[in-house]
Amino acid sequence: MKLTHSISILTIGLLAAALLPVAAAEPDADQILQQMSAKLAAAQSFSFKATREVDPALLAGRNAPENARIVVTVQRPNKIAADSTSKEGARRFCADGRNLSLVDVTKNLYSTVPMHTSIDGVVAELDRKYGFTPPLAEIALSNVYQDIHEKAQGVSYLGQATAGGVMCHRLALAGKVADTELWVGVSDRLPRRLIATVKGLAGKPQLKAEFSDWNLAAKITDKDFAFVPPKGAQKISMITTAETEAAQKTNKVTQN
């Protein structure tokens, strides 16, 4: 009787333990972002490639999506270069801590403006003064995590999927104007895919970027950022936002 009682108690206990649901811990999206940011920040000289596809609805006056191949080279704290190639032409962006140069390789035009600041400063100053930023420059910021938190209204975990043959964590970044999916490699914690879906527009147009060829120990020297105007290239001006606003006050804005 006592043995049976003991066995019964033990059996109940084991059954109870077996039936109790053990929820697997879901990866922490915020922690993944932190790890990704830390890994990128720790890389002093790195490079990566990306293909970028933009829905035509986001491009004024175009019917076909703009596909570009981009190569980004970074040397912290203040050097960044990006080469972009698409059907529309080729462009090169280069900041060496003293100056910033932009080249329209196809039309053989270039412009150089003073820019004495870090990579973070370049991104902010370009955006403020000239209304644009270098392609995928957010990836090169010193604190990508902070930048995301400043812009995203929420971060959540979507699951895992494969991008470019790499198993990734899928993270959702909710924004006011667009929602973004950021895919981060499970094993290497590097950005692999980004999909930004713009809200409020018919068809929910998207901007997509696929990241590859990460090299976090790239052999980069100052020469990689030294700008030499292409032979025969014409030097032109880079219009500032202030100049544009002044023009808008006196002229009607048109779509061209």
């Binding site: 209304g131 209204q153 929420g154």
Partner: protein
């Protein structure tokens, strides 16, 4: 199997009450762990933060490499020279002349545009 159970029974004889307490403690721990896992699971999915800002996507769309023009082009700015043109020097600038109008190339939001020279 029977001998193992018998040994369990024999060892628990003097410790029956203690055994119950241990079992209850273990069950409680399991429940607590599951709640913790549940919290992590719920937190991982529902965890968020309210940050007022431009929005990553908003900044992202316009920021991802000078694609298109934010807010369109101001009057007098053209993405391409309308019609046939020829290169000339006008007003101190290397310009293009087309249809009675002089256009000066410039970078605007990272893209090449042609600005009417007044």
């Amino acid at each position: 199997m029977k001998s193992i159970l018998l040994r369990i029974h024999q060892s628990s004889q003097g410790y029956f009450r203690k055994g119950i307490a241990v079992l209850l403690a273990a069950t409680t721990l399991l429940l607590a762990c599951n709640e913790a896992y549940g919290w992590v699971a719920a937190g991982g999915r529902g965890r968020g933060f309210a940050v007022a800002g431009r929005g990553y996507g908003c900044a992202g769309v316009g920021r991802y490499g000078a694609v298109g023009f934010r807010g369109g082009l101001p009057a007098g700015y053209y993405g391409a020279i309308p019609g046939a043109y020829r290169a000339v020097v006008y007003g101190g600038y290397n310009c293009y002349y087309s249809g009675g109008v002089y256009y000066r190339p410039a970078f605007y939001q990272g893209n090449t545009v042609y600005v009417v020279v007044q």
